[in-house]
Amino acid sequence: MEPLTWTGVLGPVVVPLMAALAVALGIAVVAQVVLSFVPGARGRTEYRDGTLALVRGPVDWAALAVRFLILALVAVVLLVIVAGIVLPDVADKGILGAMAARLWPVWLALVVMFAVSIRYQRRLGLYGRLFSSTVGMVGLALVMFWVFTAVFAPLIATHDPLSAVSGMKNVVPGTPLTREGYPYYLLGGDNLARDVFSRVVLGAAEVLKIAPFATLFAFMVGIVLGLPAGYFGGWLDTVLSFLANLVLAFPVILLFYLLVTPEIVETGIPRMMAAVLFLFPILFLVVLWNSRYRFEPARNRQRIGITLVVGLWLYAGIAWDRDPLGLVSMPANVLVVFVSVVFVNAPTVFRIVRGLTLDIRTRDYVQAAQTRGEGPWYVMLWEILPNARGPLIVDFCLRIGYTTILLGTLGFFGLGVSPESPDWGSTINEGRRLLSIYPHAAVVPAAALMSLVLGLNLLADGLREESLRD
């Protein structure tokens, strides 16, 4: 069989078209920026009665060109995707088309999600307002692309990410396969003759299984410790701030090496840390309910009861690997990575929450609550925390990206989940040894990681913009 080309039968049309559009877009962007410095590049006309009016000048034409060129590029990309899904024969689709066809569940989910969200935009609060900012929408689309890829990974992957096929070592993208199953290695093979495309797709699942949850846990720890530190101040604040600064002064990589090496894991220190850190979410919820429903014992008991039962069940499974029902467990190596990422992130969250608390503590509504006789935890969790949510949500998005980068760093130094794991950091680490000869094995996961983090940053920017608006 012939190796696949990048664009298949559309190649003769799409490749020159894309190149021309990209060059034109580059020129237009530069022209727009340069022209904005030229005085008088905005057109202006003077009417006979002495009034002035703006008309389209060179800058505006350049801006218009940029907008339409971007739209045209998007249209071409859409054409490739649609053609990839519609064309019946894999050989005609090309690599891009074939990938687009494999990713059909993702496109479907994205279209449904965006359609529903835009339809009910007004009822969805901050999330709905995200759809009126382009930056936010692009960011959300990138993030959700990877989330859906992770969810549908088993459907999308073309091959087993761990099994090698003889003769496919380091092959270039689009190489045909002689075996049963999917007939091509769409993005080539890696150093151990495994399919790069499938590894990246399943790597998304690995990364997205850890990063958001680790960030969530770090937030729980940071909030539970940061609120009282900022609210009460005093020696509690001094001690906690010192500890946070101590952790922050560690070079991240040294900390990872110290926590993830097998000898340290054997001593059980990471598991002890997990046992402590994972208590915080339960603690958080219990205090949250108790401070609110203290005077409604029935409701209070019900909420706390549910939290304790579910929380302790998950806690036993995740932290101690002793789930009585045998449903929840976390492999030891994942647990270590998870704990170290939470441990590195929590002090920064602590500092942010503490700073916000110090600021909000002096507001009138806090004093009103104090005068009403509310307890300190009620004030912290139901008055201060909801009012700090804007910056915290934005930071949460940014921090998921940062956690993804950290996980990649771990993988890059070979400290990741496991050497076989398809997560992006480990794959980059493996691929970098042959980087100058066979770049595709490392570049593909690198691009994936970059696009996910970029999406999270754009999403955070969109959220910040929209939450500042009110």
């Binding site: 727009q32 002064a249 040294l254 890059f412 980087l435 066979y438 570049v443 990681l449």
Partner: protein, 347 residues
């Protein structure tokens, strides 16, 4: 001011102390020491031999005692067995009388690196010099680039230029060093595809750095920092540009370039100064990745070697250096902030 400095210095020493205690405890756990013993004696050492080696090297004594020796407040352990001397302070060709009584960090002795087979202080000195060279060029590239990008995009918020440059800064902050390094090598140094403009390793740059072998590592570290500093500069610049005195200057008829250069810039650069100083710990992280990726044997590379091989003395020295760098830059940023911004008082 002096009281403030003294307090910060006290916190610095306390932090460094706490940190070395943690690192010491974590590197001196039993299993790691046994592994070390096996690698020192022979790979087929019997448990008895390992035990003897541990005994001889003084690793069987309690950790606090050994930590005190490392610090240099307790007399160092020396023993003689089979006509050879064993202990922290012992070096090649010493007799029992030569061995100093104290040889800890306070005496300036950081110990001996078992992996690199050299004095730790020599190794650290060499690698810090190499990293210093790298950082110098990174700073030279990163700081002006970031400030220019930040000021240009902050002076007219929401303009086309601002949008373009902000996109660039967001993109660079989303690209960690190991990603941009990989992409840059693939594009500029790959022998299969790509341009072959630069060299994919910086090993040669240790002796003589040329544009060809040093530009890619420098660019890789600088890129990640540029976006962040540029965004901070932009934020501070947009804030300054909406201030009353800028409006007054505009109403007086001062030209826009003059407003930016003479009125806005000086006030807008206070915040980025702090940010640049606080970037050092992050840069340290980037240095470790880039030095590993480009095989440049500086401080980051040494840290990875020490951590990967559990080279206790070297690792402790590395962490002391790292924590001092982090805390001193924090101190400088605080003090500098006070000097630059007369509205802030230290009390």
């Amino acid at each position: 001011m002096l009281k403030f400095l003294a307090r910060r210095l006290g916190a610095l020493i306390l932090t460094a102390f706490a940190m070395t205690v943690v690192v010491f405890a974590l590197t001196n756990i039993e299993a790691s020491l046994r592994k070390l013993a096996v690698s020192e004696v022979s790979s087929r050492a019997t448990p008895e031999e390992v035990e003897r080696w541990m005994e001889r090297s003084g690793f069987t004594r309690p950790i606090p005692v050994r930590y005190a020796e490392w610090l240099g407040v307790a007399p160092a352990y020396v023993t003689e067995s089979d006509g050879r001397l064993y202990g922290r302070c012992v070096r090649q060709g010493m007799t029992l009388a030569d061995v100093p009584r104290y040889c800890g960090v306070l005496q300036g002795d950081f110990g001996y690196s078992k992996v690199l087979r050299d004095e730790v202080s020599a190794v650290i000195g060499r690698s810090l010099a190499l990293t210093g060279k790298l950082m110098f060029w990174v700073m030279l590239l990163m700081v002006p680039a970031a400030l220019i990008v930040g000021v240009l995009s902050g002076m007219r918020e929401g303009s086309k230029l601002d949008r373009t440059l902000s996109t660039f800064s967001i993109a660079t902050t989303a690209t960690p060093e190991y990603v941009s390094g990989v992409v840059l090598i693939a594009v500029f140094a790959s022998t299969a595809v790509g341009l072959r403009w630069f060299s994919g390793t910086a090993t040669g740059a240790m002796e003589d750095a040329t544009f060809e072998n040093f530009f890619l590592p420098v660019l890789t570290i600088a890129l990640y920092g540029v976006g962040y500093i540029a965004r901070m500069t932009r934020a501070s610049m947009t804030e300054v540009m909406t201030a009353q005195y800028i409006r007054t200057a505009r109403l007086k008829g001062v030209s826009f370039p003059n407003i930016v250069m003479k009125h806005a810039l000086r006030n807008a650069l206070i915040a980025p100064f702090t940010v640049i100083m606080l970037q050092f710990p992050w840069l340290l992280n980037g240095v470790v990745i880039v030095e590993t990726l480009f095989n440049y044997k500086g401080f980051g590379w040494t840290l990875v070697q020490a951590a990967g091989n559990n080279d206790i003395d070297l690792l402790l020295a590395c962490s002391v250096v790292a924590v001092v760098v982090v805390l001193v830059t924090q101190l400088i940023s605080d003090v500098g902030y006070v000097f630059l911004n007369p509205r802030i008082r230290v009390s």
